[in-house]
Symmetry: C2
Subunit: 338 residues, 2 copies
């Protein structure tokens, strides 16, 4: 037999479908006796409900959609886990998608969520400019919160960290440890985080009198591979910088791999810093000095924003930036004097 429907339960328990609906969902007044009878019938039949039909009728699905650029970046998996944890508390289910850093794919995922009438969308957009089209296509009725990255020209809430402050922390620390010059390795994609980190780096390098040459800004991707490429490039140069500042831990991992393979002493010959504080940052040799993102806080705030009732017509959107924290480990121990 097919999946039992509300009508089957109604027939068995001798009440109307409306009463079954009320008894099972807990909305509306139903006598205890009837409720018991309905529940018994439902469990006997193995009735589980049809959330498609429910969603069609009631206009909400109990599902929150989330889109991240890369599920293999441990920063995002940590974020996703925190979000799931928060959603569990409000009884919602998370459906996760990966945009693979591709704007077109991201747009398709967004549309999937929209067509599925999810109750809200959390997105870490993959592009600071091109993602704007897809994001603005989402009807105002669906709450959207951007996480980590923010796309200029969109009108949604945002939760992230203060990237500029993070760079201040990193460069203050580097200067204290004696850095006189620095290289910055990050992502070329024009998203807000990458840009803010770059801007912050340049600003505070100047403030703390750390020299940055024209070739010392290396922009590629947030990936281990990009780190390895840059590592090879740096090895080919006559001298290593005092410190290599990375826009993501995974980039630092790649550079460390390249340097270790080449027999470079870390941090003896060059200091290196990451960004995110993913789990492996403390496992790698040398353990990585990095900027910790408060994923639990980010997730909690994002979920809170999603469920905020749109109070007025005059919808104002909030931008919440948390304070990052510098985690100091081996990779920025002092350089050995030359």
């Amino acid at each position: 037999m097919q999946q039992p429907t509300i009508a089957d339960v109604a027939k068995i328990s001798g009440v109307s479908t409306a009463t079954v609906s009320r008894a099972l969902s807990g909305t509306g007044r139903v006598s205890d006796k009837t409720r018991k009878r309905v529940q018994k019938a439902a469990s006997e039949l193995g009735y589980t409900g049809n959330s498609i039909a429910r969603a069609l009728r009631s206009k909400h699905s109990g599902i929150v959609g989330m889109i991240v650029p890369s599920i293999s970046n441990p920063f995002f998996t940590a974020l996703v886990e925190s979000v799931e944890h928060e959603l569990l508390r409000v009884g919602k289910t998370l459906f996760l998608c990966d945009s693979q850093g591709d704007v077109a794919l991201e747009a398709r995922r967004l549309q999937s969520f929209q067509e599925s009438h999810v109750d809200g969308i959390l997105v870490s957009p993959c592009h600071g400019i091109d993602s704007v089209t897809a994001l603005n296509l989402i009807p105002k009725s669906t709450p959207v919160v951007q996480l980590d990255q923010f796309v200029v020209g969109t009108a949604t809430d945002w939760v992230g960290i203060d990237d500029e402050q993070a760079m201040d922390l990193v460069l203050t620390h580097a200067a204290e440890r004696g850095a006189k010059n620095a290289v910055f390795v990050s992502s070329a994609s024009t998203n807000s985080s990458a840009q803010a980190r770059l801007a912050g780096f340049l600003k505070f390098a100047e403030v703390y009198d750390i020299r940055v040459g024209p070739d010392d800004i290396r922009l590629g991707r947030f990936s281990v591979d990009w780190g390895e490429e840059v590592g090879a490039l740096l090895l080919a140069q006559p001298a290593l910088p005092d410190v290599i500042v990375c826009g993501a831990d995974v980039i630092a991992f790649g550079i460390i791999r390249a340097f270790t393979a080449a027999g470079i002493s870390l941090p003896g010959q060059v200091m290196i810093t990451g960004f995110d504080d993913v789990a492996f940052a403390s496992i790698i040799t040398p353990s990585l000095t990095t900027v910790r993102q408060p994923t639990r806080l980010l997730a909690a705030e994002a979920v809170r924003m999603l469920s905020r009732r749109p109070s007025e017509e005059t919808i104002t959107h909030a931008k919440v930036a948390f304070t990052p924290e510098l985690i100091i480990r081996e990779s920025t121990a002092r350089l050995t004097p030359r």
Copy 2:
């Protein structure tokens, strides 16, 4: 205004809703002229369709649900990425959930998917025994493929690797490198993979004359933390084993961290092997000898199985086991003679 519906498109283009449906979905005969007109009207209105209504009516959603025990285990994220890649080719969307290794949560996720009428479910069950109830609650009409792990007492397809053969590869290699005794560190959860790996370990340890004492089987969780705990325990013992065989890379990472912190030379004093070949296995110091799981193949086969038409009443289920591959790296270089 609200989201446009098929009726709005019909009104603007001057045809019936049935024709709009046919024109837009491509099913059924529609004249080119009408089709063009409908498409124009649809795009003018920004019509996107309502997949809830579509799913309710047509009984399929274009969505495949996947449940993994832990999204922070890089093995699973690699698997998820491969699955997404395969699903993209058949035009389906993946919705991912995390069971956090919790049977009750896994059951809830499964029910979410069932109620959402997904076209199929891919699941890597978190428990070899307790997961059986939830899995058997899924109606026969929803195709289910178990990945990696298999739950005894269920009737679904399965795709994984030959865990016993994998252990043969590991122990053959260890024996060649001079191991006379070994410790096995893995997960205590009674899932098929954990059990098959343990059984294979014991079997081939005997075959290759590698001594395994009663305290040399350490079963906990598939996590870095568990590896660190075991690392501390092993350090407290009078002598280190020749080789530590781990049931997952993440466990090996934890042991390596504990040993490195204690100043133990790896692999000089003890060899270590992992399982899965996650990306970080080649980055860690020492780089990790491990068993590579062919995630692309696993994913492709699983997706193929999902879309296989249930041919007959006599539904037979397939179990496909791929051959694992041993990746030899630094962590099993020969021991320094004592």
